[in-house]
Each structure stands twice: as C-alpha cells, then as structure tokens.
Symmetry: C2
Subunit: 432 residues, 2 copies
C-alpha cells in the first residue's frame, strides 16, 4: 500500500492550503499586472551547467540534480534568474527595452533537513532588463512593497532596508580595504547582525585592517546616508551614487512607499552578483527571515549570456510571506462553498432541475447538485437540502415541475423567496 | 557561456506562449469553479514507488526518476492520480462526500524523442470521489466539454465518445471470451481504429475465438447502444448498465451537451484501471490525438490506499488543446500592453507625474512610465511619448506641473481630452 506522505520538505496543498497559496498568487499577479510586467515561465528541469556557471560547483550539493536517461546532467531549478538570462539572452536584442518580466516558479533545493525547512517553494520573480535608470530600481522595490500592502501589511508591519554595493565599495576602499579583500569585508558586514562583534573585528584585522579601522568599518553599518556622505566627502563617483540614492528615496516616496523604506548599510546580499542598489524586506518585529530580496545585477547577462545589458530584479518567496500573513491573521480562511445548490422538489421536477443547473452555470454561478438524490426514481428533497448545507452553498434553489419560478432559500438566514432564474441571476451576480 | 536552449522536450514560455497558456488555465479554473470543484496540488517530485504500484515496473523506463541525496528513489510525477489517491486516501473518511477536486499539475515523461513530442505538459485533472451515481459521470464529462465550449469550440468541432467497461465486459463474455483473455480483447478493440482488421482477427483467434466470433467481436465496436442492448438481451446486470448509460446520455443532454456526445464501443482506455463509463474527446476532423480522456475507476483507492471508495476523473492536457485552438484560430494573440503610460510635460511636472502613476495603480490601472526620461534633469516628452507607443499602452496621460488636470491621449485614435485623474478612473475602468 502506498505511503501516505509527501517526500520530506515537500508540501501537499489540500484545498485549505491551496486557498492560501492562491491568495498570495493572485496578489502577485495583480501587482505585476498593475506595474506593467509581462509573464513568462521556463522549465522546472534545466541543464545543470546553467546553475554551476552562475554559482560555482559548490551549488551542486544543494541541488536535486541527476543524470537523465539521455545522459544529460540536469537539475530541478533552484532559482529563476539563470533561466531568465538564458531565455532573454537569446532574444534581448530584438525586444524593446526595458523588458519587464515576471514569473512565479516553484524552486527546489536539497536543504539539510531542519525543522520546518522546506525543499521547495514558490517565488515571485520580477526583473527589469535593459535599463540603467535608478527610477527602475525604485519602481521595482515599489512593486515588491505593493504586494505586501495589497495583502494588508502596513509600514508598521514591514520595512525595506536598502543599500548600494557601489557605496559600500567606496566606503571600504576609503578605509584601506584592498579590492581583493572586499569579498571578506562584504561578508563580515553581511553577518554583522548575527555574528558577535569580536568575530567581525578579528576577520577584518586578518585582512590587514588595524583594530581602529576595523571598528570604523563596522560602524559604517549604522550610519545614515547623510553621515556616509560627509564621511566620504565629495568626488565624482561618490556624488553620483549619493544623487542616485536620493532620487531612489524620493521616487519611492512619490510612489507611496516613503514610510516603508530605510537606508541600511548592513544590506549586502550575494557576493559576486549585485552591482548597485540592493534591498531586503523584513517584518518589523524581526521574527522571520527576509521576506523578499533583490537588487541590481548589471554584469550577469554579460557573464552568462554574452550580452551586455543592465538588469535588476527580486525574488519573493511564498513561505516566509505565508508565515507572516498567518501571524498577522491576514491569511484567508477556507471553507467549501458554492453559489447555488439546485434541488428538485419532487420526481416531476428532475429534468427542470437539471435545466436550472445548466442555466445557473451558463450565467457564471458556481452550481452543484446532489447526484444520488437527483437520480431517476430516487429524488429526495431532504437529502438534497442536507447536501446543500454540508457543501457550503450560499443558496438552495428549489425547482418544482409545475412552473417556471424557483424557490430560493438563503442557507445562512433561512429566508425564502420566489423568482424566475433570470430574476435570480440579476439579483445575485456570481461571487468570483 | 550558457546554452541558449531548454532541455529537449521542455518548453520555454515567452510572454506570447505564456498568454496562450494562461488563456487555457483561466478557462480550466473558471469551469472548475462553476462546477463546484475545489483546488488542490501535490509536489512535482514524489516517491517512485507511488507510480510503480499503480502502473507496474514498466513505467520506470518512461520516468524522470533518480536517487536523491538522501538515498530515496524519487521521480518527477508522470500523472496526478496517484498523488490524488495518496492525499485523499489519508483524509477521505473525515470529508463530506462526494469530494470534487481539481488540479492543474505539470507532468513529466521521458518519451523517446520524436518530432514535436514533449516531455512535459500541463493537465487539468478533475476527480469526483465517494460517489457511485451516474449523474456524477455525466457532470464530470459535462465539465470537460464546458472547457471546450467556453474556449469557443462547438459540437461541429469536437465530440466526446463514451462507452462502458462493464458493457464491453458483458458483450465479450457473451461471445465466449474468457475472463483471463479479456485484457487481450480489450487491447484489440482499443486498437481497432489503428490496426488493420486482419491483425485484430488474428489476435482474437489466438485467444480461442473462431473466425466468425472474432468478426462479431470487432463488429461490436460499431454498434449503437440500442443494437448492443438487443444483441445482449435482458439480464439484471445488463439492464442496470443500459439504464445507467441512458441516464448518462439524458443528463448530459439536460446539461446542454447532447450534441457533443456519441456512444462508441471502441473507447476502452487503460487496462486494469477503469471500471465503468469511460470517455475520450476528439476533434471532429480526427487530425489530433485525444484531447481529454477519463472515466470511472472504482477500485483504485482500494488497491493504492486501502480505502474502499468509488471515484471517477479525467486528465485534460494543454498541448493537444493548444494545437486545436491554434488550428481553429481561437488562440489568444498576445501583444505588450498597459492601460496607461504616464508622461511629464516638463521638468516641473516630474513629481506630479510620479504621483499620477501612484494614483493610477491604486485605482487598478496597469500603469507604466519611462524611467530614463522621467529622471531629475532629464525629462523628455518626445521620448516618453515614443515609449508609450512602443510599450503598447492604450492611453498616454500627460501631466503638467501647473494644474490638476491631465491630458489623455488615446494612442489608437490620437484623440486628446482633458480631465482630472478621478474623472479618468471613472471613465476608463481598468482592463483586467
């Protein structure tokens, strides 16, 4: 007999969970539509080399990879960006820029089994390709925040913390960190909230900073944009970055998200990948992992697809978001439901009742009937009414064989009315 | 540099293809909603044994199966029914019957590479579990046909051919086929349209039928329901099956699909699996493989999940349907589009324009703007207008800094009007 469980780390979506997943998906899609993004998708199974090229061979330990029956090295996709770059890289020259694309792929990672750690999740990916303007960066974060706002989360619930990899670069160079040691310094700053202070200091002194400069590097992470600006002084590159960040901030404010954002030098994200503004969205209580993260990656198309095109994007998973919605009681409650349950009053009304089913569905109503108790020779009103109630129908529609009127019973209030099907359809438009 | 192609047999969905996929998905979901089905989903990766138990070890040659990093034998799902049985088997006792569930999984088979043969497809699965009534069979086929009708296909385009495994069973026994030879006879009848007549005769004589009886067995497949009835004579089992088939037919007619259906003994489907009425939907021109197939499988829950519960369902793939829609010019044409492109008339209108973007999106309009030409110090009306046109926006909304009115330019007709944002939102509700 079959095992009654999904594989570890994989979710079954019973109608209750499916309704919550659909709640998130419908907001993802609705926001993407409002922001003018076009939908795409790629295969969940891809060539392994596609991901090794982007992330290095270390990634393989975390993949569901295998050799297929045609001797190809393949893997379930752990992220969407390489597929995006593969697909767009082949066509970007013929498309009007910027390209604004979104997708909602299911992604797979062979994570070590930990409590609640999943091996699959869904992720909204939104990317803008072929645009250097910082207004694109602002519009992109605006879309991510609009998803959360549309789900009922306000600036007291969530915050987008943003930084700029170029600014961090400038600031670390100014402190005497060499280009080759930047990755270590980024990593220290990325972990500044999790690691004890001494650990960070130790690692920075190991790459040649003296203790005082190491302290200064860690202090960087708590400075405001103005403080960073005065610390760095003027200079062509610095001035341009600062101007862009201010335009980013003012545009986000203009787009309605000023209260949701905060400059924060602690946001670093992936090492070799990002090249400009980066952001992560967190719940204000700080109980959950990042809800969404992204930023500008102007060199990836060049390194993976050989086309030189700027790009930015984010990934927004369904799991942390789902936890947050549950926690704030914003997750949808699911019950079985239908607009209408059609009932034959007696044997003579059987055919008429089936015709009413047909009419109701043609008019867009979610319509059910009790199969067994509407069979020839087996019509049973009591059973049909009971079924209407247990099925969560909003209304029972009782059809008698004698005339064209139907008896409509509101199953919440018990109130009954008589009308024609046409009157019903006008009075109670279908719930969609 | 990355390979620019998906794996063989896997599809990339660029926005054009995605729009066609979404056209199909939205009808699938809309019909499922109107018929009162609840949505579920399971993992695309499952335990290999789940499918071997249902289909035997031969299936493995057709699977994307592998050993995962935890030493589990796993596979990409080739079909949805075993997952349905696994999920429902565990909970069926606590659920009110019948359960009506649907899902739209992506499924995977390692098919030998042939021209146009895919290794993945999406499939609408609709199943009714816990119901013996033939009205459930009628409602289920009705839903499948409603998908096609909702997409614009009429009774001249498609036909559902149905039969009953029990009737075929009775008819073959009456001709002297033994129980143990039934699978061969089913197989011959299943292939009667593809194999030369002599091949069928030969295989039937090999299992002990004389030439004349073999001819009669093949003739069975072209008889009408009434002809079968008179051939079989009366008897308790036969009478019950015939009465059910007549109720099936009359219910489907009552539900509006009388012209779409045809009794046809040639429809057999899977060997060990189906137990009652079975059906397949074809295009009338007979150019394509079956569009959809299904039927009653009352014993599968018992053999796979140890619970004795009747069930019926169908699988309805996106590939043949997509070909049919293209062929009949019913497939959606895709173009980039947006409701509104917001344009600043000059530098002083920059902030106001961004605010109009915010308002339009809050009102539900799909709204874009040209990032580069709306930057501080770079406002360029010509560029913004050109962008509005190439982006497929329906209307350009031109904002001037001086007052609260906007200039609305219909980009199809060139006509211009002045109004407030509020008036715009009332006059042009968002296209969803």
């Amino acid at each position: 007999m079959t095992r009654h469980a999904a594989l570890p780390g994989f979710r079954d979506f019973y109608p209750e969970e499916m309704a919550r997943r659909n709640q998130i998906f419908s907001v993802w899609r609705e926001v993407a539509r409002r922001y003018g993004f076009e939908e795409y998708d790629g295969p969940p199974l891809e060539s392994l080399e596609l991901f090794v090229e982007k992330s290095g061979p270390e990634i393989v330990a975390q993949l569901f990879n295998f050799t297929d029956k045609g001797n190809r090295e393949v893997t379930l996709r752990p992220e969407m960006t390489p597929t995006l770059v593969r697909m767009l890289g082949a066509k970007i020259k013929e498309l009007p820029k910027p390209v604004r694309w979104f997708s909602t792929p299911q992604l797979f990672r062979y994570e070590k089994q930990q409590r609640g750690r999943l091996r699959e999740h869904f992720q909204l990916n939104m990317d803008i390709v072929g645009e250097t303007s910082v207004l694109a960066d602002a519009d992109l974060l605006s879309a991510a925040l609009d998803v959360l706002r549309s789900l009922g989360l306000g600036p007291d619930d969530i915050v987008a913390r943003y930084s700029d990899r170029r600014l961090l670069h400038q600031a670390l160079l100014a402190l005497g960190v060499t280009e080759e040691n930047l990755p270590v310094a980024y990593n220290v700053i990325d972990k500044v909230e999790r690691d004890p202070r001494e650990v960070g200091i130790k690692r920075l002194t190991e790459i040649g900073l003296d203790a005082k400069t190491a302290e200064e590097a860690l202090e960087l992470t708590s400075l405001s944009l103005d403080q960073i600006a005065s610390r760095l002084g003027t200079g062509e590159i610095t001035d341009r970055i600062l101007a862009e960040l201010r335009l980013y901030q003012s545009t986000l404010t203009g787009l309605g998200f000023g209260e949701y954002i905060r400059f924060d030098m602690k946001i670093v994200r992936g090492l070799a990948y990002y090249t400009g503004i980066v952001f992560e969205i967190f719940d204000r209580r700080g109980q959950l992992r990042a809800i969404c993260g992204g930023g500008r990656y102007d060199r990836l198309f060049h390194s993976l697809a050989g086309v030189d095109v700027p790009a930015l994007g984010f990934g927004f998973g369904d799991v942390v978001l789902g936890e947050l919605l549950k926690d704030r009681r914003l997750a949808k409650n699911y019950t079985r439901s239908a607009d209408v349950c059609v009932i034959a009053a007696d044997e003579s009304a059987r055919i008429a009742a089936i015709d009413v089913v047909r009419q109701m569905r043609s008019g867009g109503h979610s319509t059910i009937f009790n199969y067994r108790a509407l069979e020839e020779g087996k019509v049973d009103v009591g059973k049909q009414l009971k079924y209407a109630v247990t099925s969560g129908a909003a209304r029972a529609v009782i059809v008698s064989g004698s005339d064209a009127t139907i008896r409509v019973k509101d199953l919440a209030t018990g109130q009954q009315d008589e009308m024609t099907v046409q009157q019903f359809q006008q009075r109670y438009p279908p719930a969609r």
